[in-house]
């Protein structure tokens, strides 16, 4: 199955700038830091390296949707092959935006979506809209493409 999504370029382009900055700022860090204090140090470091590599690859796939062709057509194509990496990349970038750009917003407001956008400073507005945009992409993948569930 394939899902073609036509996006409004003037609305999405500024959000992609925010998303790319968030992606670059992750660098070699995990969006959801490891909390396994009991793990052997070497094992933990191997785990972390594998997780970072997987996260980087997912984000690379997500950003590839918004390449040169996208800026001509405004269309992205989601399918069974890219849905899972896209969903994971969106999760990683939302966590990054939350930690670095949306710290002033209370958890309850973010969870409920009850945010008075017009009252936010312009950079925070853009970060919040990017955060919502990534959730929308995740939701599209979830509704139409999976993820695949073993045994179903």
């Amino acid at each position: 199955m394939k899902l073609e999504v036509k996006l409004h370029l003037p609305a999405v382009t500024p959000l992609l700038d925010v998303v790319k900055v968030a992606a670059d700022s992750l660098g070699g860090c995990l969006a959801a830091p490891l909390r396994h204090d009991g793990l052997d140090a070497e094992f933990r470091s191997d785990w972390e390296a594998e997780l970072v590599a997987a996260q980087n690859e997912d984000i690379r796939l997500l950003l590839a949707l918004f390449g040169h062709e996208f800026f001509g057509t405004g269309v992205i194509v989601l399918d069974e092959a890219n849905a899972e990496p896209v969903m994971r990349a969106c999760a990683a970038l939302r966590l990054r935006l939350r930690a670095h750009d949306l710290g002033a917003l209370p958890d309850e407001a973010l969870e409920s979506g009850a945010v008075h956008v017009a009252g936010l400073a312009e950079p925070v507005q853009r970060a919040f809209m990017s955060y919502v945009f990534l959730a929308t992409l995740q939701d599209l993948c979830l509704s139409h493409l999976g993820p695949s569930v073993p045994g179903v």
Binding site: L34, G38, M87, R88, A91, R98, Q138, D139, V149
Partner: protein, 86 residues
């Protein structure tokens, strides 16, 4: 002193901690995908995470617990391992 084998033996729990970012529908889908849970069990665990801050989503031998914790972390849920002392 505890030997490395006995330290890793026994029953281990995989616990998922709440975060204010991941969508409820996403968390349910990840539980289904990674742990093979049915929809209603996945939803029950998601609500537990949301309302109580944590949910024990799996328990068993250390090796598999590590596998599940790693996979959940790959989907950017915060998962921790705890030894079951009961």
């Amino acid at each position: 002193m505890t030997s490395p084998e006995s330290a890793l033996g026994g029953v281990w729990r995989v616990i998922v901690l709440n975060d204010p970012v991941n969508l409820m529908s996403y968390v349910v889908a990840v539980f289904r995908r990674v742990l093979g849970l049915d929809e209603s069990t996945a939803r029950k665990h998601m609500l537990e995470v949301h309302e109580q801050g944590r949910s024990v989503v799996w328990s068993g031998v250390r090796e598999r617990a590590e596998h599940y914790a790693f996979a959940l972390q790959q989907w950017h849920l915060t998962a921790v391992l705890e030894r079951d002392e009961t």
